[in-house]
């Protein structure tokens, strides 16, 4: 347990006192539980949930919020995460629909169903795809959905057993190989060339009758547009493979070019990135998928379809891969994305990608001026990869940046760049904020030059300082220990 020399912030369990409580449900006389449920079914000992007053509850979670960095607090340029501003009107939008029950008679949910139908249509239009499912609950979930549809497609053509391999570029997001494995595929990595794009010759050599799919992001994970995408698509299709678009980087191109036009057969979108549904500290996300017509018969169910004078949910997709999650989707987030698209329109979305790319290039130049190296020194898209000067570690710079009150960029990804710093400012940051970020990064370098040990001990001014992550992994303590129970998972 913690050394008492530096005080620790209490858990809710430590604020608990027997007999205290906050909220009260509507009151009814308690029935005879044993008589109604059967003795053997009745819980013996109550769960040790917190017993706190409402004020103590409020203080606890308000103070916890003050120990948390957020977009609303300061700039947060995580690469490939698209940490753009989350509009507050979206919260009001979602509340309008929050009391609807998914099992209600569909004729009593016509407003929501119509919204979802229009969203299906609009996401299809933006991506250049013929049909859309709103089911997946996250980007990784959308990936699994897309890969399962590709698998079904090959099986329907009698090539299921033959096509066992998925190609991914060496800089791919790590969910790609994990997703492929969940669908029973083996992953083969394709190297990038010196410009940061997929090596076309290596890619062509890797194609063959055993390849089911090629998973790509465009722009890719080093922030560079795959300029040979049309050729890549042609060769992949010629070899009988399907082309999958990982939509993590859509913010760079939304409204300006469509994955469907580039030759992709399946697309997943991250609404919590491009369409600003809140990250929520890690989720819930939403990952709708779009497909070209030849894959539409494999879409997961249900789909929102037009019905007699209205809309309904349909499971009438004969070769569907099945269901991917309960009910229709993360509706609360789908409503927020819908509101965003309605607010911006096509011109607004084009400006989103335009300013996203503008800001990323601006910050790249500022960071280069502050002393950082950019290995792929060319115009990038919505994000770029940088490196600290030789001898300094990205981890230490990130920790020192926390003392500046700003959030570090993504660190140590992609793996193909040593000491990688992946930066995506997004379009919602002003130039002053970007200047301040670069200046802070410059200050960190000057501090490091004056005082060798300084960075290694950072951060100094955050609610807690650098953590012993080795201890957390070696001796896992994954729940609070009450009184005399060990509380340890081992």
């Amino acid at each position: 347990m913690a050394d008492t020399s530096a005080p620790s912030f209490p858990t809710i369990f430590e604020r608990s006192r027997p007999g205290r409580r906050a909220a009260r449900p509507p009151h009814f006389d308690e029935p005879d539980l044993a008589a109604l449920l059967g003795e053997d079914q009745v819980r013996a000992a109550p769960p040790r949930l917190p017993e706190v007053s409402e004020l103590d509850l409020v203080r606890h979670f308000t103070q916890l919020a003050h120990r948390q960095f957020s977009i609303d607090g300061n700039v947060y340029p995580l690469g490939s995460c698209t940490m753009k501003y989350n509009p507050k009107v979206h919260e009001e939008a979602a509340r309008l629909f929050q009391d609807l029950h998914p099992q209600q008679a569909p004729e009593t949910a016509q407003g929501t169903l119509r919204l979802l139908y229009e969203l299906q249509r609009d996401l299809g239009a933006l991506t250049g795809m013929d049909a859309v499912s709103l089911q997946p609950a996250a980007g990784a979930h959308g990936e699994l959905t897309g890969i399962l549809m590709i698998r079904a497609y090959h099986r329907a053509r009698g090539e299921g057993k033959q096509r066992r391999v998925v190609l991914v570029p060496d800089g791919a997001h790590d969910t790609n190989p994990a997703t492929a494995a969940m669908a029973g595929y083996r992953v083969v990595e394709v190297p990038s060339d010196a410009t940061g794009e997929v090596d076309l010759d290596a890619f062509t050599r890797a194609l063959g009758p055993e390849v089911a799919a090629v998973m790509l992001t465009n722009p890719n994970t080093v922030g560079v547009f795959e300029t040979r995408i049309l050729e890549i698509a042609r060769r992949a299709h010629e070899a009988g493979a399907q082309l999958y678009y990982d939509g993590a980087n859509l913010n760079a191109i939304v409204g300006r070019v469509r994955p469907g036009d580039m030759g992709f057969d399946v697309v997943h979108l991250n609404l919590h990135k491009t369409f600003t549904t809140p990250h929520g500290g890690g989720g819930p996300g939403t990952g709708p998928v779009g497909v070209k017509a030849h894959l539409a018969e494999f879409l997961p169910v249900p789909l929102v379809v037009e019905a007699d004078q209205g809309y309904r949910l349909s499971e009438d997709v004969p070769k569907s891969i099945g269901r991917m999650r309960s009910f229709v989707g993360n509706v609360g987030n789908l409503i927020r994305a819908y509101a965003y698209i309605r607010t911006l329109g096509l011109e607004g979305l084009r400006r989103v990608s335009g300013h996203a790319v503008l800001n990323a290039n601006y910050l790249r130049v500022r960071m280069q001026q502050a002393g950082y190296t950019v290995p792929f020194d060319r115009l990038n898209m919505h994000e770029f990869v940088a490196q600290p000067p030789e001898g300094l570690h990205t981890l230490d710079i990130a920790k020192a940046l926390l003392d500046e009150g700003m959030h570090p960029m993504t660190v140590y990804f992609p793996l193909i760049v040593k000491e990688a710093m992946m930066v995506e400012p997004t379009e919602t940051e002003s130039l002053e904020t970007l200047d301040a970020y670069a200046e802070a990064l410059g200050r960190v370098l000057r501090r490091a030059a004056e005082d060798e040990g300084y960075l290694a001990g950072a951060p100094y001014h955050t609610p807690v300082r650098r953590l012993d992550e080795v201890r957390a992994a070696r001796r896992p303590v994954l729940r609070y220990a009450f009184g005399d129970d060990p509380g340890s998972a081992d």
Binding site: V52, T108, A137, M324
Partner: protein, 447 residues
């Protein structure tokens, strides 16, 4: 343009710094033939117009009225303090806590969540949440397959039909066989479990609302070295025997009933809690306790080597996120209710459901057997369930989750009641069903 801060001067200054003529020039790498396609989207709306538009859509929904809907989600009491605290903007607009020094808010709240779920289920280790109860169930089956190295799964037909459909989607991709156990008298008979079965999956209470003999079913699974996966309603665990007490290996389920609105089906969250022995196989994020350099207690994402960003194709799952914010709603809500409030909500739900059942029986309803239930139960009807549900909706009552033909009960619906259902609401539903002729007569039960 909303949310975009740059003036024309800002744009000009940025372009000059970069050394480019125009924003369009930044997109020269895009194939010329594909640039700026004509996309058909409705015109942009300002905030006033947007809200008016959304309200007009919402006006076509009918959420209000007495609500007896179950079948995977239920409307329960959520005090105002819950969303007030959980939806603070620091929690809403934060990212995954990869820089723990500035993320102790989310990390500690998650540690508290993991503790509460462990307490509710009586099992040792909870992950930081998953997409929903159904995908958590599928992930539990995959865990059992990895752990036992067996390739077959037994699932009770009492598990929610949608959950079983998702299980099939996930397991079919890996050629794992699923066998379904049919119900007898609305519950799962204790099977003899073969030695090639990785796990037995049972829902408690089951889809029809009935209570299962979990201890006996667990013993049957363990007798052949299979794991027992219990799919449970977390609110019910306030009064029902928890999975840890009857020896379950994995508890999964959907967290909606302990603190999130129904929101037409999502987002909610799934939970997974396991025994110590299964810790290393647990998918999803985990928050652990440690200390910082000054000796302060602190919390951090840990055991990440199980996850996709390190193990890639050998990860326990491809899951990259958790449903942090909806899990946080539940965490705050459980603390707001406390053990006493949670028990009151559960007991009230039980009382109202049994009151409804008694009233229906007195009107001649056939409750498809004399089974014990918590707060949902099955009633045979004259017409198919979806027709009954629509007829009731037309009378201003939301009730009647249809029971599919796979249950061989003829026409039937599942009814639920919660602490938000009043005695008057019950009379309204009983009256509506009687007026529709759904409760009596020789036609009941055929279909």
């Amino acid at each position: 343009m909303p949310y975009l801060p740059h003036s024309e001067e800002d744009v000009r200054r940025a372009l000059e710094t970069i050394g480019v003529e125009s924003i369009d020039a930044l997109f020269d790498a895009l194939p010329a033939t594909l640039r700026n396609p004509d996309i058909d989207l409705p015109p942009a709306m300002d905030e006033t117009t947007l809200l008016a538009h959304l309200r007009s859509l919402a006006a076509r929904d009918r959420p209000a009225g007495p609500n007896f809907l179950g079948g995977g989600m239920r409307r329960h009491f959520i005090p105002s303090v819950t969303p007030h605290l959980a939806l603070q903007s620091e929690f809403v607009t934060a990212y995954t806590p990869y820089q723990p020094e500035v993320a102790q808010g989310i990390l500690q709240a998650t540690f508290e969540y993991q503790t509460m779920m462990s307490e509710l289920t009586g099992l040792a280790v909870s992950n930081a949440s998953m997409y929903d109860g159904a995908t958590a169930t599928a992930e539990a089956a995959l865990l059992a397959v990895r752990q036992t190295r067996r390739e077959r799964v037994l699932v009770s037909r009492g598990v929610h039909p949608e959950t079983r459909a998702i299980l099939a989607t996930y397991l079919e991709a890996l050629d794992i066989r699923i066998d379904t156990l049919d119900l007898e008298h609305l519950a799962t008979p204790v099977p003899t479990v073969d030695g090639d079965v990785a796990c037995v999956i049972v829902q408690q209470p089951n889809f029809l609302g009935s209570l299962e003999a979990m201890a006996a079913l667990t013993q049957a699974a363990h007798a052949s070295g299979a794991l027992l996966v219990a799919v449970v309603d977390p609110l019910g665990l306030a009064v029902l025997t928890p999975p840890g007490a009857y020896g379950a290996d994995i508890a999964v389920g959907d967290g909606q009933t302990i603190g999130n609105p129904t929101a037409f089906g999502g987002p909610s969250f799934g939970f997974m809690v396991v025994t110590d022995a299964l810790l290393r196989q647990l998918p999803g994020r985990l928050v652990g306790e440690t200390v910082d350099v000054d000796g302060r207690r602190a919390f951090v994402l840990t055991l990440q080597a199980r996850e996709q960003h390190i193990r890639r194709s050998k990860a326990r799952s491809n899951i990259c996120s958790n449903h942090q914010l909806t899990a946080l709603m539940a965490t705050v809500n459980l603390a707001a209710l406390g053990p006493q409030g949670l028990r009151e909500a559960a007991a009230a739900s039980l009382r109202q459901a049994h009151r409804l059942a008694d009233r229906l029986r007195s009107q001649g309803a056939d409750l498809a057997g004399d089974v014990r239930f918590f707060n949902e139960f099955t009633v045979r009807t004259r017409r198919p369930g979806s027709v009954v549900r629509s007829a009731l909706a037309a009378r201003g009552v939301h009730a009647g989750v249809p029971v599919g033909s796979e249950y061989r009960l003829g026409n039937a619906v599942v009814l639920a009641a919660t602490e938000l259902v009043s005695d008057e609401d019950i009379e309204q539903l009983v009256g509506a069903l009687t007026a529709e002729g759904e409760l009596e007569g020789r036609e009941v039960g055929h279909g």
